[in-house]
C-alpha cells in the first residue's frame, strides 16, 4: 500500500469540510484511480472531481499519472488569483 497526503482548496475544501486527508492507496494507483476512490467515498465532491486540477508533489498531474509513495496530492478548482 501507498500512503499519501491529500490537500483540498477553495470549493473542494468547502465541500469536503476538511483541508487535508491521509489516505492509503494500492501501489501503482493513478490519479484516475484516486478520483474513482474519492468519488465513491465522498459522493459530495463527485461533481467537483470532473473539473478539478490535481497536483503530485506540487506539480500539475493528469489522470494517467502514477502516484508515487508518500506523495502530497493537491485537489482544487482552476486557479483565480490576482
Amino acid at each position: 500500500m501507498n500512503h499519501i497526503k491529500l490537500l483540498f482548496f477553495a470549493t473542494v475544501r468547502e465541500r469536503m469540510g476538511v483541508k487535508s486527508l491521509d489516505l492509503e492507496l494500492p501501489a501503482e494507483a493513478t490519479i484516475g484511480d484516486l478520483k474513482v476512490n474519492l468519488s465513491e467515498k465522498y459522493p459530495k465532491i463527485k461533481d467537483s472531481l470532473k473539473s478539478v486540477l490535481v497536483t503530485i508533489n506540487r506539480e500539475y498531474a493528469f489522470d494517467e499519472a502514477i502516484i508515487p509513495s508518500k506523495a502530497e496530492i493537491g485537489v482544487f478548482p482552476p486557479v483565480s488569483g490576482g
Partner: protein, 159 residues
C-alpha cells in the same frame, strides 16, 4: 513581510503574504546599479464591477496552496527570464486573507536597463501566468451572497 530570494546575482523576490504590499520596498529590492526602468502591475480589489454582470463587492477572501504557489511564482519568473533576457529583477507577490475594495492584492514588477527591452510585456506576461498556474483562489463576498471566482485555465503537462 518575509520574502524568498533566489540565490543569483539577479534578484527574484516572490511571496504569498498576509501583509500589506509595499511597492517602494519591492521596487528597491529589484533595483540594481544597472537598471533604469521598472514596469509594475498591481491588482486591487474592485468594489464595483461593470463588466459582465454588474455587481458590488464587499470583500474578497483569498487562499493559496502556499508552498506550491511560491514554487510556481519562481517558475513564472524563470519563464519571464527565458522570454526577455533583458529583464534583471523580478518581484511577484500575492496578498491573501480578507481584502477590502481599493486594497492592492497582487504585484508583478520587472526591472531592466531601459524601457524598450520588453519590460512592460514581461510584467503583463507575469500577471497573466500567475492567473493561470499559481494555486491561489478568491471568494467574492457581496451584498447578494458569496461565490468562488473560478479560473478557466487548465494547466498542461509540465506546467
Amino acid at each position: 513581510m518575509t520574502f524568498n530570494m533566489q540565490p543569483s546575482s539577479l534578484p527574484t523576490v516572490f511571496s504569498i503574504t498576509e501583509d500589506e504590499i509595499d511597492l517602494n520596498d519591492l521596487l528597491a529590492r529589484i533595483t540594481l546599479i544597472s537598471t533604469g526602468a521598472a514596469a509594475i502591475f498591481t491588482g486591487m480589489v474592485r468594489g464595483e464591477t461593470k463588466r459582465g454582470e454588474e455587481h458590488q463587492t464587499e470583500y474578497l477572501e483569498y487562499e493559496a496552496y502556499i508552498p506550491m504557489a511560491e514554487e510556481k511564482m519562481k517558475q513564472v519568473a524563470d519563464e519571464i527570464r527565458a522570454k526577455w533576457d533583458a529583464v534583471e529583477g523580478i518581484a511577484i507577490v500575492q496578498r491573501i486573507g480578507k481584502l477590502y475594495p481599493k486594497t492592492p492584492t497582487v504585484l508583478i514588477a520587472c526591472t531592466a536597463a531601459h524601457r524598450d527591452t520588453g519590460v512592460f510585456e514581461a510584467a503583463r506576461y507575469g500577471i497573466d501566468r500567475l492567473k493561470e498556474i499559481v494555486p491561489i483562489w478568491k471568494k467574492e463576498v457581496s451584498p447578494s451572497g458569496e461565490f468562488w471566482v473560478e479560473g478557466e485555465y487548465i494547466p498542461k503537462a509540465g506546467e
